[in-house]
């Protein structure tokens, strides 16, 4: 089943965690998708939107609509940026002539695990990852996109992977964009609480569908010299090898 995909690589993934997008490309190609990367894309506008600067965010949204105008299906390795496009563009562009277009584009934009499980009907992508892993449910994916089971289905399909449940798996890690620096002390305390939950599981890896949560958690884990490492779901799904 060949499917033409346009990659939506969030700006901070492009600049800071390119391996996440590379791994997403591997997974999509492995299940037979044809992958394209519209090189004119930049940022979806979420940082400005969340900070209250909607007039600054709006041109980014309009630009995004132009760049992905002809895309059949748009796939993104972040629940948060997918939320921005699907859930918030229609509100941001409520009184714009592009409102209808925003609604339609939102329906063609998917978070990676959502695309694999719900659109492609795949829960085994042929990955092997012989490690213990615990799962953090990223806020936007869980509560805005309602993705509860999709990432877990994919993790259960990975050979050699042992999934360990985490207490309060759905409590925020404390990232929250600008919140992480504007209210650093609160953000760090939330991250530490999360790191405590991770430590209790004893897992080697903590995974999630949002690279921003993982970036934050890694900062906390490394600072505390904790053993657990973060890894994006796409990177687990891209892993091959023997058990």
């Amino acid at each position: 089943m060949a499917r033409k995909i346009s990659l939506f690589v969030p700006c901070f993934v492009d600049q800071l965690q390119p391996e996440v997008a590379v791994d997403m490309v591997k997974v999509l190609r492995r299940i037979g998708c044809e992958v394209d990367y519209p090189q004119d894309q930049t940022c979806c506008g979420q940082p400005a939107f969340n900070s209250g600067f909607w007039d600054e965010a709006r041109p980014c949204a309009e630009r995004f609509l132009r760049v992905f105008k002809d895309a059949e299906a748009i796939v993104c390795p972040s629940g948060s940026c997918t939320t921005m496009v699907r859930n918030f563009y229609p509100e941001l562009l409520a009184s714009s002539s592009l409102h209808g277009e925003a609604l339609a584009l939102g329906k063609r934009t998917f978070e990676l695990s959502e695309f694999l499980v719900k659109v492609m009907g795949v829960s085994d992508v042929g990955a092997t990852f012989p490690h213990t892993v615990t799962y953090h449910a990223s806020c936007h994916g869980l509560r805005e996109l309602k993705l509860r089971d999709e990432p877990l289905q994919l993790l259960r399909g990975v050979k050699g992977l042992k999934l360990i449940d985490m207490l309060r798996f759905d409590e925020c890690c404390g990232f929250g964009g600008n919140f992480a620096t504007k209210f650093a002390s609160i953000s760090v305390a939330m991250g530490e609480t999360k790191a405590d939950s991770v430590a209790v599981t004893g897992a080697e890896y903590i995974t999630a569908i949002d690279p921003s949560c993982l970036m934050h958690m890694q900062g906390i884990l490394t600072h505390r010299k904790d053993r657990a490492k973060t890894i994006h779901l796409a990177s687990i799904l891209a892993s091959e090898g023997t058990v």
Partner: protein, 496 residues
């Protein structure tokens, strides 16, 4: 403000010029690093979580109950004028009095003047956040009256000269040993082993004296039932009934948004409120009061007054987008699930209503001084997921932020940053160059060991977190350098 404004968390001496936002940041930093506090709150919230989950499982369809409550409140708020007048008419017909207070000063003056004219010396209060909002107790004390908080948690924080830590459980931040010490110091009796039952018995003994001495009882209201003109109160300690039936005057003080259309609406709202508040199927005492004692009745007050408080609420009512914030039934569920609240605690907010609902509401009720609260959230949406009346709390935080930046000159620096940011984001080449410079610049800075110093633009991140690893190439560079051409991978891994 008055003495009551300083009656909040003691957190060291504040410089007098400090703004509410600066104080918030300072207190948040202290509290979120306080591991003893973190542990007390974690324990209390865990027992709440368990009770709340059990409570919700008693409903055949919790989501349907939430939607029903949302519908009831929406109907009430959208026809507030009609239902409030209906409520007033019924109360007056039964011999009660209704006073419409535009703000806290008017409400306090009415109650103080009433108490003075009736020769009131002792006042008992059952739990009411609205009386906290208008700072009623200090006004009555200033007029020479003795005011007793009779809810156990409120009694404890009153003895500590503190504001309530939480809107449902005011003394959540204290353990029994701290309460033993407090009672020993303030009540002059020591309870060996900090036995909780004996601590409660001691408070009960003291409060009984107050109940029998009181001339006036002041309560809040959980709901005002329009079609029957009744004030509905949910309590667990029985102090609500004593406060409203023993003294010769009862004053109920409440916000105008508490009205509901029909008596039968309580059948849904009462259990949903109890479940969200404490996990109970229904609170121990569910009381309805419709007026003063009538001829032939054995008990009840001689006079019954209801004070309906606006205090900024009609401003919210006028705002179609934010109006649903008035649906709130003050259950506290959003506080209990909020990871920010759990780490900074109730007092850090320095508001009557802390937690997510407070962060949404307070800037509307008390002004721009409190707008920082709308930013002090990771927007995780946990609050919205538990709100029993489906208020979209975290989206209202977004709306607040939008409205504040549009009307503000204080965010001018940030606006300039976002204008530059926008200019870069609209030109892929500038964006890519900017990203490259950032990675190179930060790499060089970190190589020199300057991470976290004042030269480091990421210092707010780097002080308590390891810095973000900086890759040599961006994804767009990797794509151009070979990833793109590897268009078809013909591997088979047992996948269709």
């Amino acid at each position: 403000m008055s003495a009551s404004a300083s009656r909040t968390a003691p957190a060291g001496e504040a410089p007098s010029s400090e703004t509410a936002a600066q104080k918030f940041l300072r207190d948040a930093a202290t509290k979120s690093a306080d591991l003893v506090h973190r542990e007390i709150i974690r324990k209390n919230m865990e027992s709440y979580d368990a009770a709340h989950l059990r409570g919700r499982s008693r409903f055949v369809d919790w989501e349907a109950a939430r939607r029903k409550c949302q519908e009831i409140k929406r109907e009430a708020i959208n026809h507030l004028d009609r239902y409030l007048l209906q409520f007033e008419e019924k109360v007056i017909a039964r011999g009660g009095h209704v006073f419409w207070a535009a703000n806290g000063d008017e409400a306090c003056a009415y109650i103080r003047d009433l108490a003075v004219s009736r020769g009131v010396r002792t006042v008992v209060k059952s739990k009411s956040m609205v009386t906290e909002e208008i700072h009623l107790a200090p006004v009555l004390e200033k007029a020479g009256m003795k005011v007793w908080e009779t809810d156990l948690g409120e009694f404890i924080v009153q003895l500590r000269n503190e504001a309530p830590y939480h809107i449902v459980t005011p003394a959540m931040h204290l353990n029994r040993h701290q309460i033993r010490e407090l009672f020993r110091d303030k009540l002059g009796e020591d309870v060996p082993d900090s036995d909780p039952q004996k601590l409660v018995a001691l408070a009960r003994r003291k409060l009984r004296e107050a109940f029998f001495a009181a001339d006036m009882g002041i309560s809040g209201a959980n709901f005002l039932v329009a079609d029957s003109g009744a004030v509905a109160i949910s309590t667990n300690e029985g102090n609500g009934r004593l406060s409203t039936s023993l003294p010769r005057i009862h004053v109920a003080v409440t916000g105008i948004e508490k009205v509901i259309p029909r008596l039968e609406d309580l059948a849904t709202l009462w259990p949903v409120l109890a479940t969200s508040g404490t996990g109970q199927p229904i609170t121990t005492y569910s009381t309805m009061i419709g007026g003063p004692r009538r001829p032939g009745e054995a008990d009840g007050p001689e006079e019954f007054h209801v004070v309906l408080l606006d205090n900024g609420r009609s401003g919210l009512l006028a705002n179609a987008e934010e109006r649903e914030v008035l649906h709130c039934i003050r259950c506290g569920a959003c506080l209990n699930i909020c990871p920010v609240y759990k780490n900074i605690g109730g007092h850090t907010y320095n508001t009557t209503y802390p937690g997510p609902i407070g962060s949404v509401l307070t800037p509307h009720l008390r002004g721009r001084e409190f707008e920082h609260l709308s930013y002090a959230s990771s927007l995780c949406g946990a609050c919205t997921s538990v709100c029993p009346v489906n208020i979209n709390l975290h989206h209202h935080l977004l709306h607040n932020r939008r409205d504040f930046t549009a009307a503000s000159s204080t965010g001018a620096g940030e606006r300039m940053q976002f204008r530059l940011w926008r200019a870069a984001m609209l030109h892929p080449r500038i964006y890519a160059l900017g990203g490259w410079l950032m990675r190179r610049g930060l790499s060089a800075l970190y190589a020199l060991g300057l991470s976290g110093t004042f030269l480091d633009p990421m210092r707010a991140w780097n002080r308590k977190r390891a810095h973000i690893p900086l890759p040599a190439q961006s994804f767009r560079a990797l794509w151009k350098n070979g990833l793109e051409s590897n268009q078809v991978v013909k591997e088979k891994h047992g996948v269709q």
